[in-house]
């Protein structure tokens, strides 16, 4: 029964990535190579981040929200952004359309993130006799994370891959990207300072990821229409 629970939570955590890959047109164009490369870039980025965190951060004595430490953590979080940039622009991909490129990169990134952060606790914890809601929450968090990463990848592709960026939308694009990049800091701020409980934080993550996904989708569509409009002109 407890392996059953592990299986359930693993499906909840990693299933959506597989489903996303097979359901969308990614599987038809065989973009698995891109995803794997993005996962590797994520691993390297995570290592660099760890080294920076270990070097620059102090061990906190209590659990309060220290603004300088959080600022430092946010700055280190921008290494994430740099990694994403690398994955989107520098990696040599086969001839796949931009649309698929950012989706594949986002998917690979999110999958590596889930595996790294959630597989080990799941394996160790969910197989015990004791039942907690923790692993189900983790699974939901993984889903929210996937949506967030896809949204960020979309905005990233808008910012760095397009040759002609639509002038009017740029500030919004940068603002959304900024919010997405600082999302981890926001969540830790909510958890520590405001003392939100786990389900509340989770609800916030889900809603914010859906909102950001919607926003980035709208931005993509708008930039497409603006571009086609420009071409027509």
């Amino acid at each position: 029964m407890t392996v059953f629970h592990f299986f359930n939570c693993a499906m909840l955590t990693f299933g959506p990535h597989a489903v996303y890959y097979s359901a969308t047109t990614l599987s038809e164009y065989d973009t698995i190579g891109t995803s794997i490369k993005a996962a590797v870039v994520y691993l390297i980025t995570a290592l660099v981040k760890l080294i920076c965190l270990a070097t620059f951060l102090k061990v906190p004595e209590n659990d309060n929200f220290d603004p300088y430490q959080e600022l430092l953590k946010a700055l280190i979080g921008f290494i994430d952004v740099a990694g994403f940039y690398l994955a989107l622009t520098r990696l040599t991909h086969r001839n796949i359309s931009q649309n698929h490129k950012y989706q594949a990169v986002g998917l690979g990134w999110a999958f590596a993130d889930s595996v790294l952060h959630r597989l080990a606790p799941l394996w160790v914890g969910a197989r015990g006799l004791e039942f907690t809601w923790e692993y189900i929450f983790q699974g939901i968090e993984a889903n929210a994370n996937l949506v967030l990463n896809l949204a960020f990848a979309a905005l990233g592709s808008l910012m760095w891959l397009k040759k002609n960026k639509p002038r009017t939308l740029l500030p919004i694009i940068y603002a959304c990207a900024g919010i997405l990049a600082t999302m981890p800091s926001i969540i830790s701020y909510l958890r520590r300072t405001l003392g939100w409980q786990r389900p509340k934080v989770l609800a916030f993550e889900m809603i914010s990821s859906l909102v950001m996904a919607f926003l980035s989708w709208q931005l993509l569509c708008l930039s497409k229409t603006i571009n086609t409009a420009k071409l027509l002109i």
């Binding site: 029964m1 059953f4 629970h5 299986f7 359930n8 499906m11 909840l12 299933g15 959506p16 489903v19 996303y20 097979s22 359901a23 969308t24 047109t25 015990g128 006799l129 004791e130 039942f131 907690t132 809601w133 923790e134 189900i136 699974g139 389900p199």
Partner: protein
């Protein structure tokens, strides 16, 4: 039913079921407690002359349940949790002697039974709980139970678990694999027989002043047994039976060692102090100790005073003898005791019980002496001889079953009467061990030893040869006496014990099988929903329909 309708209907159904499941899951959020671990103490397991008694198993891995149960419910995979405070003994009889098959029994003892109550304000409840406990103990140690029985102390965690279990049971669902609840797990090895349990007798010898001539000085022996037996051997501290006797013996030894330290005050009697083991088992240890005496020593013993349970607060003590009270020696001992008792406000009665050599049952320690023709008597607060394995210190016999004032009185009584006899001041109005004198009783000494003994479970089979308490008693006697001799013997074969007396019980909150199945359905439907949603968005609805229709087409193609 077109595929389109089916696809649409499926999506709607999934949404509703997922919503309903989310609501159910959210409503049950309190299920998410962490596992707790509780110290538990197992019921004793022993064989008496081959017949098995006590709880025969130690491993436990079942769901928790509590009263009231539906009549005829299957409890063979349930651990019944019973708090002793509200115990209904007739109900327990059903489980024990009625042969109702249960998976295990967990008895919750109230916290204050284990702690010392400061001040004289003894709760009436405690008295009631004590009487329930002694009845419960007698019931359990004479039963043969084919399931594990554990004792644990009540604390917040166990109270929370019990309340939860009761709530669940009240809702009409007996806890089992299908309905969640709590699982109690004790993982210990199978209990093994304790091979050759040792009983250790400690004796201290205080020689008297040898006068002119080489005549052997007479000896007076003061004896007490220090080991216990109870339903939970890890909790059998036996403060009154017979921690009180051991403490009185130690204090008397200390007082007389002061008197005997200078030749001017040394009496013309040798004093022999004996801390014997094997008390509950027909004073087996005392018999072996007496057998080890050589003839001369045995013949030189004028009389022996045995001490058993002299620590409770009643003002009545009994002198139990096996020789008729008209016997000159017995008369003398009794009179010296009652003289001192008058001054202390205590009455000492005399009880005569003939010994039957063919009967192996030895109810008092003095009977072992009488069997080797040494005059002896037992001083005790009990008026009736206890049965086998009764009054041997058990769950109810904790620190606050003993009254310190009563112990002081008993020490004074025995020490004064001994001293008056040794120094020939019988009948005289003299107070040798006056309070606040250098020979006064030391209350802190008495209390500290009483506290130590009330913290140490002393079931003989589980005391090794070098157990700390045995070494402590030996060291104490060697401080007060000249020669200390420790005798290790193997317990007689009539009793055999099994180990595994304490363990840690893990209480897990488990989710039921139905919950896991629901979760599987929820996650599965979520993934299917996600899949169809994505296909519809990226490739269009027709693609989804084609995908669903493709497998049958492929099959026909292959065929």
């Amino acid at each position: 039913m077109t595929g389109r309708q089916r696809g649409g209907g499926e999506v709607v159904c999934s949404i509703y079921s997922v919503l309903a499941l989310v609501l159910i899951l959210v409503a049950c959020v309190e299920l998410g407690d962490a596992a707790t671990a509780v110290d538990v103490y197992r019921l004793i397991q022993y064989d008496l002359a081959g017949a098995p008694y006590g709880s025969r198993f130690s491993g436990l891995n079942h769901h928790a349940g509590s009263e009231p149960f539906a009549p005829g419910a299957d409890l063979s995979r349930t651990v019944v949790i019973l708090p002793v405070r509200e115990l209904n003994l007739t109900l327990l009889q059903e489980y024990i002697t009625g042969g109702r098959a249960i998976g295990g029994l967990l008895l919750l003892l109230p916290q204050d039974i284990g702690n010392k109550i400061v001040g004289g304000n003894k709760n009436k409840d405690i008295g009631l709980v004590r009487s329930i406990l002694s009845e419960l103990e007698q019931l359990l140690i004479h039963a043969n139970l084919p399931y594990p029985v554990y004792f644990a102390f009540e604390n917040d965690k166990t109270n929370a678990v019990l309340a939860d279990v009761r709530r669940g049971d009240a809702a009409g669902q007996p806890a089992s694999a299908a309905t969640g609840g709590y699982k109690l797990v004790v993982s210990t090895a199978e209990p093994k027989k304790v091979s050759s349990p040792t009983i250790t007798n400690i004796q201290g010898w205080l020689p008297g002043l040898k006068g002119e001539g080489t005549t052997q000085l007479p000896t007076i022996a003061v004896v007490a047994s220090y080991d216990t037996f109870g339903a939970a051997p890890a909790l059998s501290v036996g403060s009154d039976s017979n921690g009180s006797g051991a403490v009185v013996l130690l204090e008397i030894a200390r007082l007389f060692s002061r008197l005997y330290s200078s030749p001017k005050t040394r009496g013309r009697y040798n004093l022999l102090f004996g801390l014997t083991s094997g008390g509950p088992y027909n004073y087996n240890g005392t018999m072996k100790w007496l057998r080890s005496f050589d003839q001369r020593l045995r013949e030189s013993i004028e009389y022996a005073i045995c001490l058993h349970s002299i620590g409770s607060s009643s003002n009545e003590l009994w002198l139990h003898v096996s020789k008729p009270p008209e016997n000159a020696y017995i008369k003398q001992v009794y009179e010296s005791l009652s003289d001192v008792a008058k001054d202390l406000g205590v009455t000492v009665g005399i009880k005569h019980k003939k010994i039957n050599i063919s009967n192996p049952r030895v109810a008092w320690e003095h009977e072992q002496f009488s069997r080797v023709r040494v005059t002896a008597a037992t001083l005790s607060e009990l008026s009736v001889a206890p049965e086998l394995l009764e009054s041997t210190g058990g769950l109810h016999d904790t620190r606050d079953a003993v009254d310190e004032a009563a112990i002081h009185r008993s020490i004074k009584l025995v020490a004064e009467s001994l001293a008056r006899h040794i120094y020939g001041y019988e009948g005289k109005n003299i107070n040798i061990f006056a309070d606040n004198s250098s020979l006064g009783i030391n209350p802190s000494y008495v209390n500290s030893w009483l506290d130590l003994l009330s913290r140490t479970p002393r079931v003989a089979a589980f005391l090794s040869k070098n157990d700390p308490i045995i070494s402590a008693l030996k060291k104490e006697l060697s401080d007060h006496t000249d020669e200390v001799h420790v005798q290790h013997e193997i317990m007689d074969g009539m009793f055999s014990f099994y180990d595994s007396t304490r363990a840690t019980m893990n209480i897990y909150q488990v989710a039921s099988v139905t919950f896991d199945l629901l979760l599987l359905v929820a996650v599965g439907s979520y993934l299917i929903f996600l899949f169809s949603f994505l296909v519809i968005i990226t490739r269009g609805l027709d693609d989804l329909i084609h995908m669903l229709r493709r497998p049958p087409q492929r099959k026909t193609k292959a065929a």
